[in-house]
């Protein structure tokens, strides 16, 4: 009997086993389908490298008043100089640091507070959810840039307060983004199982819920980096963010505007820098959304 079964089995074609693709192969496939996402990754990599190597890359000291005021771009000052005779290229290179720093700190604040509130609201539901989310509705009822300007205006115009303001303003977005998927995840049996074996709420939230809701949060974080950088630029443009002589792209644009007819380069180039950074994070965020959303695979 056993021999017969073995003989029969030998005749049967083996079921074809598809080996799961290696992570590298998987990312290659995703990348091939998403050239814009790759472009975004490259832009952000360049941005981070520029910030890290600013000291090496910048030809001059970003705050040193070294040349004649408002020199047009030439062989020495590739992007010209500003109203204090500072090298614009060097200021843009060092400005990368400020933009990335503001982006990371303010989105970190929003992610930390908003994400946690969203997890708590979604997990506990009931009146906790109601109170937290109505509070977020109230914050949403004030246009975010208006609220950010009001907060920096009140706390006092400087970089730290601008970061706090941007962080506060984007908190409700993260609360909403985190809460939605939590509602779906807590319906799963493994959550009930974890409860049954007596896991505490904190453990369930961080060990079982959080890992399953990270995808939308990661996408939102990336996209928020672009809006946070833009918000810092606006605040600094209005004179409420980074203060002189620190090289912030927004400040450069704001002050450069006054000399625009005679020295347009002062305002033109920082705008390109903002655009590339925002474009990079937008493309990366869109790309990540496509890569992480299982429905789109």
């Amino acid at each position: 009997m056993a021999d017969r079964a073995a003989a029969l089995a030998a005749d049967l074609p083996l079921p074809s086993v598809r080996t799961p693709p290696t992570p590298a192969a998987r990312w290659r496939r995703i990348a091939a389908k998403n050239p814009l996402g790759v472009l975004g990754t490259v832009l952000i990599a360049l941005l981070v490298a520029t910030a890290a190597l600013a000291g090496l890359l910048a030809p001059f000291d970003p705050v040193a008043q070294i040349a004649r005021r408002l020199t047009a771009p030439d062989g020495i000052y590739l992007l010209g100089t500003d109203e204090f005779g500072r090298d614009i290229l060097s200021r843009i290179i060092f400005g990368t640091r400020i933009s990335l720093y503001v982006g990371m700190v303010s989105v970190g604040i929003a992610l930390g507070i908003g994400g946690t509130l969203g997890l708590i609201a979604g997990y506990f539901g009931g009146w906790i959810d109601n109170i937290l989310m109505r509070l977020m509705d109230v914050m949403f009822s004030i246009p975010s840039l208006v609220l950010a300007i009001a907060i920096t205006g009140i706390l006092g115009p400087n970089l730290r307060n601008a970061m706090i303001a941007i962080g506060i303003v984007y908190t409700p977005t993260f609360a909403r983004v985190a809460r939605g998927p939590v509602l779906a995840v807590i319906q799963n049996e493994y959550i009930a199982a974890a409860r049954t074996v007596g896991a505490r709420d904190g453990r369930i939230i961080f060990r079982h819920v959080l890992p399953n809701v990270t995808a939308p949060i990661i996408v939102q974080t990336t996209l928020s980096l672009s809006t946070a950088i833009l918000a810092e630029a606006v605040l600094s443009f209005l004179g409420l963010g980074t203060q002189p002589p620190e090289p912030s792209w927004g400040t450069m644009l704001g002050t450069g505007r006054k000399f625009m007819e005679t020295a347009p380069w002062v305002a033109i180039f920082p705008g390109f820098a903002i655009m590339l950074a925002v474009l990079g994070f937008n493309l990366l965020g869109d790309g990540l959304r496509d890569a992480l959303d299982p429905r789109l695979k």
Binding site: G153, M275, L279
Partner: protein, 316 residues
């Protein structure tokens, strides 16, 4: 529908009250003493004078009493008076609101009028030039900072055409053509980002709707393609488009603040930022409250637009 609307209106009340608490509390975080700000920069005042100011402005009361007094006055239409000009804030802001509304209206108009046809074209003729253009606008529009675009537009206009933005606001009632000339560049600066978003949404909504069975049915019964696109596809595709316009109104109002500053348009945003610069807090408070109220009202209008577009939504 009426019942839904009434419910929806009532829901606005707690949100607005919440917003008013938020705005009120925010101003209590002012570093330093409010009395110093009221006295102004010339200010050295004796403790007696300070105590009198405190009493006059109700600052010696507990904070919830201060709030109740303030919100009571707000509900009667009294937003206090400017610390700089002593003008009543309510009247000042109401005279500024139409400028901001005109600006917002124009930029929504420009972006929708350009983005919707382009988005439809991109969805219908896939792989064509319309799709390429819409992708490009969708990308660039989202990343171009509007205040930079505004600056560049002024630069191009002044260098290329010797044209400078007028420094005095012209009302559309006194001179509509001059007013449009003045509003065009600010409106275009604001419109680009919204246009990118509307374009993306129109394209993807159209693609989705065009794959629906009822579109096949409409084609199968021999309707002209134009009728299929306009009556069956576009009308349904407009629902998510309107949603996204509604959501973007907050960003748009935020952006008007910067754009009005650049073009010197004395709207709500301009008043608000100058209030911040001059530490004129009643004006700031009133402006934020009014912008929030406008935003909540616009979202209400968006909800009503759904009901018109989608007969399935009848709201109980």
């Amino acid at each position: 529908m009426t019942r839904y609307l009434i419910g929806r209106l009532f829901w606005c009340i707690p949100v607005m009250l919440g917003a008013s608490v938020l705005i009120f509390v925010l101003l209590r975080f002012l570093p330093g003493d409010v009395v110093d700000i009221i006295i102004g920069s010339e200010g050295s005042a004796t403790p007696e004078v300070r105590a009198t100011i405190r009493r006059l402005f109700g600052l010696d009361q507990p904070i919830y009493v201060q709030y109740l007094v303030w919100i009571g006055a707000v509900l009667r239409g009294d937003l206090g008076s400017s610390l700089r000009t002593s003008q009543p804030v309510g009247g000042l802001l109401l005279s500024r609101l139409p400028i901001t509304i005109e600006l917002a209206f124009l930029s929504v108009g420009i972006s929708v009028l350009l983005a919707v046809p382009l988005g439809v074209l991109a969805a219908v003729k896939r792989g064509g030039p319309a799709e390429l253009v819409s992708r490009l606008v969708g990308l660039v529009g989202l990343s171009l900072p509007n205040f930079w675009l505004a600056t560049m537009l002024i630069l191009i206009a002044s260098l290329g055409f010797g044209w400078l933005p007028s420094l005095i606001y012209v009302s559309p009632l006194s001179n509509p053509i001059e007013n449009l000339k003045q509003m065009l560049m600010p409106a275009v600066s604001l419109a680009l980002a919204l246009m990118a978003i509307v374009l993306r949404m129109t394209r993807s909504a159209m693609l989705e709707v065009l794959s629906q069975e009822y579109v096949k049915t409409a084609r199968a019964k021999g309707l002209a393609e134009r009728v299929v696109l306009m009556r069956h596809a576009l009308k349904n595709a407009m629902i998510p488009v309107i949603t996204v316009v509604g959501i973007q109104m907050g960003t748009l109002f935020g952006s008007t603040v910067v754009i009005e500053q650049i073009f010197g348009l004395p709207g709500m945003g301009w008043t608000f930022v100058n209030g911040i610069y001059q530490r004129d807090y009643p004006t700031v408070q009133g402006a934020v409250l009014m912008l929030a109220l406008t935003f909540v009202f616009v979202n209400l209008l968006v909800d009503m637009a759904y009901a018109y577009l989608d007969p399935r939504i009848r709201y109980g």
